[in-house]
């Protein structure tokens, strides 16, 4: 089976200008104040994630500082938006450097002090950067031993480390601390032979459960998010927004707004902002602007969008091709042809997009709620015609993001440049914070998608062909995991590069981009075929699987669930799903119940299993799995953006319903122990199977075949009527 990486944004070419990179690196070392600073080469991981020519440090990609105070600081360009890497990175450092966990401090997502980073997404923090940090820490320990050998005048072979101290194994009083060796100097050193990392049987920190280390700040209100940072003389901005996508400002009467005491109005072309020392007063003044817009007529809405998307011209990409579909069709006794739909879904983090910008001595500093501090640095530098080193982006606590604050192709932090421009125009620090309506309006939604599958089984119940066309979701999760002789998968447009004119607004990555849409369709199709074959859906899957890892996660889920095979449709409401995301194998088995009168579905129980290779923090991973299962009930059951003629009709959580406390099922998680495998993604994979789990569960409960997400009560009732 193919195991290539689907994240094409990871394969950008590395910078060629190494001398500049090295100068940047040394400058950054000066900024972070000395100590022993170790770097490791990206080449170690075999993957390049460097960005060409813009503030990148491709060969100096992990900073570790050991201060004279014996504290270790780890500088990472990634951010923690709640997924908990601020807790798990120190485990890697502590393990390989041999220091206590609580002596490691993290600095994340600061463009002045952290190495360049592509943005926090794709569950890449641990599986890519974590691997680099781990080897950097191991190398740092080797460098410290070399320095200690000189200091203690002792051959390096006799030296060992323990908890931040290097000691002579033959002379117990001959020892020196890391901080003493560092002396506060910048020391650049490389080992000729790379030391190996700690083996799993000696782990002290890796693989142990660590709770959120920032919990105390979060339960006391001390954790500062971008909107909580206050600077002297700062202003809060409200910005005039178009009522619909594609609208053009015709005129704006600012008279009333200007009458409000303390208000400052900025007009810069079609950009109109109202600023005040109080955010609510700025908003109130904004609401007094009488603006007229030219409105476009797209005639697209959430009902007719699928027809439009299927018709949008785009060159398909062949993802899989094996055998001959026509031959497969000839072998088939039963044919299945279904079309699966999934709506636009909002990221809807609890914290809306927020940036605070200030300009001092020609340098812009921005505190931003983002997954992409370095992308903001680039956007703001370009937008304000400044060199990159005149823009610093600092990422404070981030109140959720899920891909919505990640700039891949589409700029996902519009507010950052707006804040910077306003800071320039007013000469004061300015905060731009989206209202909830702006958050929905400017969200880079998970694209609506259409997945068509034709498949067939022969007389013995074996799947003989699989013909899969995917529109707009992309190829995430489309690999054919089942053993099928004739297969063809075509991709028409992706979430990342949608064809022009496809979507009436911006789209972008949403936690495990495209994968939930594809898994929903594929796994429902499998269950439909299993039912026709008269075979238990778990058994049907196992019969068609050769991949031991996939068999492993399914069997582990069945065991934890206490699964008993039954002929479909069993009436029990048991749903099942499996797939691969960010190299992690994941299986879901769960139980749902449906109120046949109202059409309301309730998820009663979910078992979720990961084979994710080496798990650094099982506690953090478990929480990610639970959270992903809960979040995913939204796209499966209730979330679909309603829109019409460019207007986003859902403006708040009263109509856009996300999962609440009363929805939450019993969730059990299993992480298979695979310490000798490299670490794979943790944050995303558990979202991929919940749509399929609920659709197959509904089918198993009632025989209802529902092909559209979200599975609203209305649609459930309609599907039940057809049974």
């Amino acid at each position: 089976m193919k195991q290539e990486h689907k994240c094409d944004f990871m394969n950008l070419p590395a910078s060629k200008n190494m001398n500049n990179d090295r100068r940047d690196f040394l400058k950054k070392m000066g900024l972070i104040g000395g100590g022993i600073i170790i770097y490791c080469t990206i080449g170690n991981t075999g993957r390049s994630i460097a960005q060409p020519g813009f503030g990148s440090t491709p060969d100096f990609n992990a900073f570790l500082r050991i201060g004279i105070d014996e504290r270790v600081t780890c500088f990472i360009g990634k951010v923690d938006m709640g997924q908990g890497t601020i807790t798990s990175f120190p485990q890697l450092v502590a393990e390989e450097l041999d220091v206590a966990y609580d002596r490691v401090d993290m600095v994340m997502g600061d463009t002045d002090t952290c190495p360049w980073d592509i943005g926090t997404g794709g569950s890449m923090s641990i599986r890519i950067v974590g691997v680099q940090v781990r080897s950097a820490a191991a190398e740092a320990k080797g460098v410290l031993k070399l320095l200690a050998a000189e200091y203690l005048k002792c051959p390096v072979e006799r030296l060992k480390t323990k908890d931040g101290v290097v000691f002579d194994t033959k002379k117990s009083d001959s020892k020196v601390t890391y901080g003493t060796l560092a002396k506060g100097n910048i020391i650049e050193k490389h080992l000729e032979t790379k030391p190996s990392v700690t083996s799993p049987d000696s782990f002290e920190f890796i693989g142990k459960p660590y709770f959120h280390q920032d919990a105390h700040k979060k339960v006391t209100g001390m954790a500062q998010y971008a909107g909580d940072i206050r600077l002297p003389d700062m202003l809060y901005a409200g910005i005039l927004r178009p009522p619909v996508h594609g609208a053009l400002l015709k005129s704006a009467d600012l008279t009333e707004a200007k009458k409000i005491e303390g208000v400052q109005v900025i007009e810069d072309d079609n950009f109109i902002a109202v600023l005040h020392e109080a955010p609510d007063i700025a908003r109130m003044a904004l609401s007094m602007i009488k603006a007229e817009f030219d409105l476009p007529s797209t005639s697209l809405n959430d009902k007719n969008i699928y027809e439009h998307l299927v018709k949008t011209p785009v060159q398909p990409q062949i993802k899989e091709k094996k055998g001959d579909i026509e031959e497969g069709v000839k072998l088939a006794k039963e044919l299945f042809e279904e079309t699966y739909l999934s709506a636009y879904v909002a990221h809807a983090p609890m914290e809306t997009h927020t940036s605070l910008a200030t300009i001092e001595n020609g340098k812009v500093t921005i505190w931003a709620s983002t997954q992409s501090p370095f992308a903001i640095q680039r956007t703001v530098a370009e937008g304000m015609k400044l060199p990159a080193d005149k823009v610093r982006v600092i990422t404070p606590f981030v109140g959720g993001a899920f891909g919505g604050k990640l700039t891949m192709v589409t700029d996902s932090n519009l507010e950052a440049l707006e804040a910077a421009r306003l800071a320039q125009l007013t000469g004061r620090p300015v905060q731009v914070s989206f209202s909830r309506a702006e958050e929905f309006f400017y969200d880079t939604f998970r694209p609506a998608a259409i997945v068509k599958i034709k498949s067939g089984i022969d007389g013995s119940g074996k799947i003989v062909f699989w013909n899969n066309d995917v529109y707009m979701a992309g190829d995430g999760g489309t690999e054919v995991i089942y053993d099928i002789p004739h297969q063809m998968v075509n991709i028409y447009g992706t979430w990342m590069m949608p064809p022009p004119g496809a979507h009436p607004f911006r789209v972008g990555p949403w936690r495990a981009p495209g994968v939930p849409n594809n898994i929903h369709a594929k796994e429902m199709q499998i269950s439909l075929m299993a039912a026709k074959a008269g075979v238990d859906p778990l058994e049907f899957r196992l019969r068609h699987l050769k991949d031991e890892k996939m068999i492993g996660v399914l069997k582990a889920a069945a065991k934890k669930f206490g699964y008993k095979p039954a002929k479909p449709v069993s009436g029990r409401g048991i749903g099942i799903s499996c797939g691969i995301d960010v190299d992690t194998y994941v299986a879901h088995i769960g139980e749902i119940e449906v109120d046949k009168k109202t059409g309301e579905i309730r998820v009663k129980r979910v078992v979720c299993v990961y084979d994710m290779g080496l798990c650094i923090n099982p506690q953090g991973t478990k929480i990610q799995m639970e959270g992903a299962c809960i979040m995913s009930m939204g796209y499966a059951l209730s979330e679909g953006i309603r829109f019409s003629d460019g207007a986003i009709l859902d403006k708040n959580f009263d109509t856009y319903r996300i999962p609440g406390f009363s929805w939450v099922p019993k969730i059990e998680t299993v992480i298979l122990k695979k310490d000798n495998d490299p670490p794979h993604g943790a944050g995303e994979p558990a979202v991929i199977g919940m749509g399929a789990l609920i659709a197959t569960g509904l089918f198993d409960a009632t025989g209802a075949r529902l092909f559209e997400m979200p599975m609203t009560p209305e649609r459930v009732r309609a599907a039940l009527n057809k049974v």
């Binding site: 938006m81 709640g82 997924q83 908990g84 709770f211 959120h212 920032d214 919990a215 105390h216 700040k217 979060k218 339960v219 006391t220 209100g221 001390m222 954790a223 500062q224 998010y225 909107g227 909580d228 206050r230 809060y236 020392e277 109080a278 955010p279 609510d280 007063i281 809807a348 983090p349 609890m350 914290e351 809306t352 606590f397 981030v398 109140g399 959720g400 899920f402 914070s433 209202s435 909830r436 506690q619 929480i623 639970e626 959270g627 992903a628 299962c629 809960i630 979040m631 708040n652 959580f653 009263d654 996300i658 999962p659 609440g660 406390f661 009363s662 939450v664 969730i667």
Partner: protein
Amino acid sequence: MKEKISFTINDKPVTLEVEGDRELLWVLRTELGLTGTKYGCGEGVCGACTVLVDNEAIQSCQVRIRDVAGSKVTTIEGLEKDGNLHPLQKAFVDHDALQCGFCTPGMIMKAHSILTENPNAKKEEIVNAMDGNLCRCGAHPRIIDAIVDAAKILKKG
């Protein structure tokens, strides 16, 4: 029109001269620097801005500052006493009942109000009462466990 408005904030008396129709949320955040109370929706449908007014949970984006004159307002910053976390705060830490943490202050304040009103609240009652407080990360089961646990500790005194 600015008015003089007096109330108690986290056990301390305060008098502010502000426009009386400003929402409590923004006065807390800008005039008093109490930024633990968060803006999430502005329409009282997410609970991120929940604070206590005379021990009862209210969504501070829905209350005008004029209306809390003479009242006792408590925010997340007011729960810790003498450097000790409130049992609810401690339970949230012990149960790892958060991810991004943005909804956490509102969750804790709402839970505080539920348990003040009914120290014997059952798990189902807590779930239903918390339903208006939204969390996008999916920390729900841990939040409920934390509240149930804190209820036991609070009852013991």
